[in-house]
């Protein structure tokens, strides 16, 4: 019972403060699930983001499902999802009711958009934590991962090659598998450099 309550409260907070879209949930998720409750390791967290990126649906709903199931099965997933969407449900109902009352609605929207820069800074912070974890620190850099990262970033921002995140993830997966294959071949002595 305690666990369900914790899940609910965690995802309620994530839902309430992810102002400005699904990605904003990421830094909050990292804090709640990795740092605070230890439901996931940093490695599992980055895997979770990978999976959430590959399937339809928003980051927060996907993560709520994944973590909910891992912690407490399907009921856990339902509790996490309800907790996650309840705050926006309440706020959206208020905004929908105020749809005709223009000035009040404008104030609420102004207030909500004022946190935008904070939220963007939080996403950048989360990105840097992920990056550090993926490619290592300055003292112990993982050259292979750095190359994959640069390749991915180039593919993502290139205007000439229209590649979405899912296909670039596919490239990453292939490169990872190919690297392991080459390591095996070298170890077996089939390929000699």
């Amino acid at each position: 019972m305690m666990l369900y309550l914790q899940l609910f409260l965690s995802f309620f907070q994530i839902g309430l403060f992810s102002i400005g879209g699904g990605y904003v949930a990421m830094p909050l998720l990292q804090h709640q699930t990795v740092d605070l409750h230890g439901w996931l390791t940093q490695a599992q967290f980055i895997d979770l983001i990978t999976i959430a990126e590959m399937v339809p649906g928003s980051m927060s709903i996907n993560s709520a499902t994944f973590i909910g199931i891992k912690i407490a099965g399907i009921p856990g997933a339902i509790v996490a999802i309800v907790g996650n969407i309840l705050p926006s449900f309440i706020i959206m109902l208020i905004l929908a009711k105020l749809y005709e009352h223009f000035s009040e609605q404008r104030i609420i929207r102004n207030v909500l958009t004022s946190v935008r820069p904070i939220v963007v800074a939080a996403i950048l912070t989360a990105a840097l934590i992920l990056l550090e974890f993926a490619v290592g620190t300055f003292k112990q850099p993982n050259i292979f991962a750095i190359i994959v990262f640069l390749l991915a970033y180039t593919l993502l921002s290139s205007k000439r090659i229209p590649m979405g995140p899912v296909s670039v993830l596919g490239v990453g997966a292939l490169v990872g598998v190919a690297k392991l294959g080459i390591v095996y071949l070298l170890e077996a002595g089939i390929v000699v450099i």
């Binding site: 830094p27 990978t50 339809p56 994944f66 749809y99 935008r116 963007v120 939080a122 990105a127």
Partner: protein, 203 residues
């Protein structure tokens, strides 16, 4: 029998709720790539195909949904549902939007648990880690670019201060947001009062 698609706000009955559920469910199912993709698909479906909502209303909904907490796709679905059939409509549309990712991720999480520890799968995930970092980094750049475009100096300054607080000083994001919400609410209310006063003086 000729079935003509009736445009405009539909009649609210059980059949309508089933239809609303089905439309949001299929939309959410096809929305690979997260919130904004679904939002644009929803605009196409609700405005052009079904004609349940007019273009201007939809634009308003998207703007409201993006500023509110939570994912944009779920929020737009809530707004659309509420607009068509009040709170029950909002509930049905939310359910339709949330179920597909829930089902898909449930299946994937089972597969993930089974495959975890398999060297090839681990190698694939290891290869995808730097890609995920690149994706999120690019997302933060995409979010930041509009500030530069309109040269929103206060926003850029707030961004820099927040980044230092969050990344280097490890301040909690929630605390930062709460402070900002309080400040911004005060400023907006004062502004409204000032405006009202000026209007009264004009009269």
């Amino acid at each position: 029998m000729k079935t003509e698609i009736k445009k405009g706000k539909p009649e609210v009955n059980v059949k309508f709720f089933l239809r609303l559920f089905w439309e949001t469910f299929t939309l959410s199912m096809s929305g690979f790539g997260g919130g904004f993709v679904i939002v644009s698909l929803m605009r196409k479906k609700m405005v052009a195909k079904l004609g349940w909502i007019d273009q201007d209303e939809m634009m308003d909904f998207v703007i409201i949904a993006q500023s509110a907490p939570g994912s944009a796709s779920v929020n737009v679905a809530m707004m659309v549902g509420y607009h068509l059939a009040r709170t029950p409509g909002a509930l049905v549309a939310t359910l339709g939007t949330v179920l597909p990712p829930m089902i898909i991720v449930s299946i994937i999480s089972v597969i993930y648990t089974i495959l975890q520890g398999n060297v090839w799968v681990d190698a694939a995930f290891l290869g995808m880690r730097p890609v995920v970092a690149a994706i999120v980094l690019q997302v933060s750049w995409k979010f930041f670019k509009p500030f530069l475009k309109v040269k929103a100096i206060p926003a850029i300054l707030l961004f820099i201060i927040s980044f230092v607080l969050l990344y280097i000083l490890k301040v909690s994001m929630i605390a930062l947001i709460l402070v900002m919400l309080a400040l911004s609410t005060t400023a907006n209310l004062l502004d409204m009062r000032r405006r009202k006063k000026r209007m009264e003086e004009d009269i």
